[in-house]
Symmetry: C2
Subunit: 714 residues, 2 copies
């Protein structure tokens, strides 16, 4: 009786914090596909099953797009309402935000946002909004709400879903590369992350919601995978879906579907076949469309400007980091106290960026546009460069202060245990710096248009400098420097701003910031965090440039005991159990005999344990002295001997091998491109040793003079 015709439950699955074997997963999916295809000719029902299986991928993309878009819309609306709650409340209905409240108002009022229905806290409590005491009361309420929101967020994360903190992008990158972190993309993480993201953004902390939205979209993707057997049971297929979900996440975060696909390709994904490109594209399209149709502001520009960036939690914590709640309290209190007095830090960061990108028209009422108007020289819509008025000078000082504050506060906000993105803060920093430079240039050009650098292209009374463009380029450059994105950054920026004509300055900014940042340190923020967290991530961007050979990396090393192997037809159940108990390797090579060391295949520890235990329990006659056969045909046994255990079905007959003389650069390439877990090393046809992914990572760390033990997981 061949006991193992049907695979046992558990055989072929993975443990937590382990790396999947891409080749095996993809083979399994192809087997499944072949079976469905061949069955489809048998009956109509099987045919329907085959067709629905083929379309399930697209259906899944549709669902992910719908869910991610809806959640993003929900988060948008809630965050907007709660941000306004810090300043006041709407009497017409507490569920209206400031803008909605004034929009619904029937009474007439002068300033667009000063309708009688909207009461600031001082107006509500004191009955008026003037004077120092009212200001202090507003200030106090602002800080109190901010603290309330952020504390609630950190407590929820701490209590219910520790994986919900940070942006999640480094972990998603690691998961997409084949690592398993159970629960990281689960339903609890999704629920808590969605709620706490709203709280964290509303609290006014210097963080963005775009990175976390990628995590939220990936949770949606992972959860929806459970609806389809094809994706539920196959780790490789599921990762294709997650790549597309990441694209949908960026798509809703920035209102940039194409940018999302490119971000997933350039920054996040590991295995990205063209099929995934098309599916990502579809998911991103649906998500953007869903968000746009539920967007309650009726202003697609607002969505288009909602850009942020993400910085995850660190495992290596500071002293303060051991008390996450205290940390959040302190940082929120400082942020709120510093932010309130300065107009540019009090407004939401996306509004700030939107205002900085804005080019001043004649009628703009913003302080940034308070120029000395000279209407005589105005020709049509084309405003010439003008002298800055007092408003601009005030704005410059406030922006300079805001810049300093943003830079410092953002650094501290990054490491906190709340969902936090870094896109918006880093764009804001870049946009402020860009606007400051832009206005300075503009004034220089206005007062010194005869200088050599301006002559030729900037005559008097002409419009030669656009400070808004400087801000846009600054934002792109800052974001590019932090993430090292290039193509996807430019696409996201022009999808955000709709400014296709600015593609050349944006491209130049992206390239320059990448070069400058690379000169200082090679790693982008995500890669740095993957390294800090010790995830087993094999970087595809870095070239392996050392001249080591497979024999230098393989185990056993020169003076180690020889490699633990299993022979194909001479070991007993007890022998194998001894090997399992005495070693912790995740798999064992199977050889013809110990003397010849000729490789037959590879068997995984997990599969071996499950099969042997199962046979001991359920199969008659299996005792400690039963011989295990991995061969195709087993010899006839004498009647007295115990019955044998055939385990050929769990044997991987096509293990990857390299020779001991293979340069490590080729081995690294094979591991990366094929997604291997391990590779066997031979010399002149004899098995010599084994190289696992962890060995490769440790070797790379060692050569980079890092602690090889920083690679933590398997």
């Amino acid at each position: 009786m061949d006991f193992l015709e049907e695979p046992l439950p558990g055989v072929g699955t993975y443990e937590d914090f382990n790396t999947i074997d891409w080749v095996r997963e993809k083979s399994r999916d192809r087997d499944r596909h072949r079976e469905i295809t061949s069955r489809s000719k048998e009956s109509t029902w099987a045919l329907i099953h085959s067709v629905s299986d083929a379309f399930s991928g697209w259906l899944l993309m549709l669902l992910i797009g719908l869910l991610a878009g809806s959640l993003a819309g929900l988060i948008d609306i809630s965050a907007h309402w709660m941000t306004d709650l810090k300043e006041g409340v709407c009497l017409a209905g507490f569920w209206f935000n400031h803008e909605h409240c004034c929009w619904k108002s029937n009474t007439t009022f002068t300033d667009r946002d000063k309708c009688p229905e909207w009461k600031s806290w001082s107006q509500l409590i004191l009955g008026h909004g003037e004077g120092a005491f009212a200001y202090i009361l507003n200030y106090f309420m602002y800080v109190v709400w901010a603290l309330l929101f952020s504390l609630l967020a950190v407590l929820l994360v701490k209590g219910f879903a520790p994986y919900a903190c940070g942006s999640g992008i480094p972990e998603i990158k690691t998961i997409l590369s084949g690592f398993i972190i159970r629960g990281y993309l689960g339903k609890w993480t999704l629920i808590i992350k969605t709620i706490t993201l709203v709280l964290a953004v509303s609290s006014g902390l210097s963080l963005g919601k775009e990175g976390p939205l990628v995590h939220v979209a990936c949770c949606c993707g992972n959860i929806l995978c459970h609806l389809f057997t094809k994706y539920r049971k196959n780790e490789a297929k599921r990762r294709e879906v997650l790549s597309a979900a990441a694209a949908a996440g960026v798509s809703v975060a920035f209102g940039a579907p194409i940018g999302g696909v490119l971000f997933s390709l350039e920054e996040v994904s590991y295995y990205f076949p063209l099929k995934t490109l098309w599916r990502s594209f579809f998911a991103a399209l649906v998500a953007a469309f869903t968000l746009r149709s539920i967007n309650p502001f009726g202003n697609s520009r607002l969505v288009l400007f909602y850009v942020e960036f993400h910085m995850p939690w660190r495992r290596k914590t500071t002293k303060l980091g051991k008390y996450p709640v205290l940390e959040v309290f302190v940082v929120t209190a400082i942020t709120a106290i510093l932010a309130f007095p300065n107009e540019y830090t009090r407004m939401s960061t996306s509004e700030l960026i939107s205002e900085l990108f804005n080019d001043c028209g004649i009628l703009d009422s913003s302080k940034l546009c308070e120029y000395v108007n000279d209407f005589n020289s105005t020709k049509g819509d084309d405003l010439p460069d003008r002298a800055a008025g007092p408003g601009v000078y005030t704005a410059m000082w406030q922006l300079a202060l805001a810049l300093i504050m943003k830079v410092f506060i953002t650094i501290f906000t990054f490491g906190m245990k709340v969902p936090s993105g870094l896109f918006i803060p880093s764009m804001a920093v870049g946009a402020i710096a860009g606007r400051l430079l832009g206005v300075a240039m503009e004034q220089l050009a206005y007062y010194h248009h005869d200088w050599a650098i301006f002559s030729g292209w900037c005559s008097q009374g002409a419009d030669c400098i656009t400070p808004g463009l400087y801000a846009m380029v600054g934002a792109a450059a800052c974001l590019g420097g932090v993430t090292r994105m290039t193509v996807s950054l430019v696409v996201i920026m022009f999808e955000l701003t709709g400014g296709l004509e600015y593609i050349v300055p944006l491209m130049a900014a992206a390239m320059t910031s990448k070069w400058v940042a690379d000169a200082i340190g090679r790693e982008g923020i995500y890669d740095a965090h993957i390294r800090l967290n010790g995830y087993p991530f094999l970087e595809a961007k870095e070239e392996f440039s050392h001249k080591t050979l497979a024999m230098d990396v393989m185990r056993p090393r020169r003076n180690d005991p020889p490699l633990t192997v299993i022979t194909q037809d001479s070991m007993t159940v007890e022998d194998v159990e001894t090997i399992i108990n005495e070693t912790t390797y995740s798999g064992y090579p199977v050889v013809v005999s110990r003397e010849s060391q000729r490789l037959v295949g590879f068997v995984l520890r997990r599969d071996l344990i499950i099969s042997v235990e199962n046979a001991r329990k359920k199969q008659d006659g299996i005792v400690s002295t039963s011989i295990i056969y991995f061969t195709d045909h087993s010899p006839p046994l004498p009647p007295s001997s115990p019955s044998m255990l055939k385990l050929r079905s769990i044997l991987d007959l096509s293990p990857f091998t390299v020779t001991d003389q293979t340069p490590m650069e080729i081995v690294v390439d094979i591991f990366r491109k094929l997604g291997l877990r391990q590779c066997l090393v031979t010399h002149n046809g004899k098995l010599l040793g084994i190289i696992t992914k962890k060995d490769v990572l440790k070797h790379i760390a060692q050569l980079a003079n890092q602690d090889p033990d920083s690679i933590l997981f398997n």
Copy 2:
């Protein structure tokens, strides 16, 4: 004496129509890089060399961008001038095109393009432009010029550079996948292609210049590679440059730098590391910038609308195809004769597309915009749907005729031996169909706005249908159906039109057309041509779905003579020469001994021939009975025996091996991802056989019920 310390010239190079070994090329580049890096610490000069080596890639990209942009500008200007030459000549200077001529004119004239300096041929010859005879004369001159241009083009291609015909994209795809076609990207191809492209476009044939521009840019890239040792000597590195050059080509063809990068990624490239993404981005940026700065029309829109698509020559020719000059004559004559009377086929195709995309304003003078104006209902810029006037009805008929003509003529134009692209013709077909549908819908909505499908969103007097958008979507859909591009298509379309807001309809069109086209046949136009030409291209998009094993594909087959092997330390020079002469394999496995069949390495035929011949000529004491050693250490020889030949240096010590039980899907994956030329097959540690790329391709063809002998090259 170890003779082979310095590699012999020729060792490590490839013959024409052979496939490169990516792994070996990349290893060689890394070796080179390591050597330069380690030397850089020795002297300042070496340090400068190391730095300049690191920057040479970027410098090369800059040069490619500049050259490709300049050539594209030159082609643009020349083609524009020669197209106008078919209609008349400028008296102010024959080198002015129609637009320039009238632009330079000092006299006043009513119609923008009817200045006195520009003379049609009838005006020049007869002195007037009215009447039937003048019309016939203009018609005649139009046909004569068209024939002259196209005949000159086909003769130049035939006489000087046969590789210059077609679009070149299928060949470039094949070259990028590792195939070698000498001269395909050489200087003669570049010169002749540039000249004949202008001629072919000017002749008014139904072809575009965008595909060929990709070929032109790749020629630039290949030629400029010769300036840098790093790229001249390494086939893999050169292919990275060519990928970027292809991006630059699309960038200038469409004025779409991002689209170009995506096109290169999605459609053309085989090996596309992230480094290439950044470099492509840079090259595309420079090229677009160069083109825009030399664009003499001062109208970036014009460049932006110049979109086309390409169809290469076929190897399987028709009867007519054996007479390329006659074919071109006949097709040009028919095209010119049919095109002249119809306004929409007479104008250049890009102008046609531009007009079809155009949304009618109040002042538009085009026939397509001759609506019955009702100025009372006009609100600002927002034009309501209006009843079509007689001009629109005439235009509809002419467009319908143009559609039929374009479809048929384009099919015949494809196979001709002139540089020809298919982008513009297929976009034109789609745009005409889209515009026709758009106008029909508009009139339906105007007359029947109470119908259920219009109710709700289209009230009377509202502007609900934009025929120009229908044209744009139609163009995208048609192009998508032919090429099966998705993401790159959408990006190119919105870079072309600047219409970021139309991203959703464009995405929907791209997806739908891909689905519909895939349902009819899986192959895009390039893949179909690669197949027709029998190139050894291993498609990365198609999944290999059969359940065959490596042992079913490997050679020798079951009843064949055993595999030809070389032993590591027992064969004489004569033995090896016999093997070389009796077999035609491109390489031989080296084993410990024939009995054990334990694999040591792999040696390439070309390297072996060169080394043995060289040793025979230059090394003392090498005779037919000299023993060839592939081992590291050779035994001491008795004094009487002839001196030995050590060839370890040409031995590849890390050949790829798979077991005979490995599923072919994994083998195909390995070939694709690692870019292998061959892979050895083992069973229980013994060498069994070999699988080459050609074996894989033949196997795939066989399983697809195609003739396996259609794979022609090695």
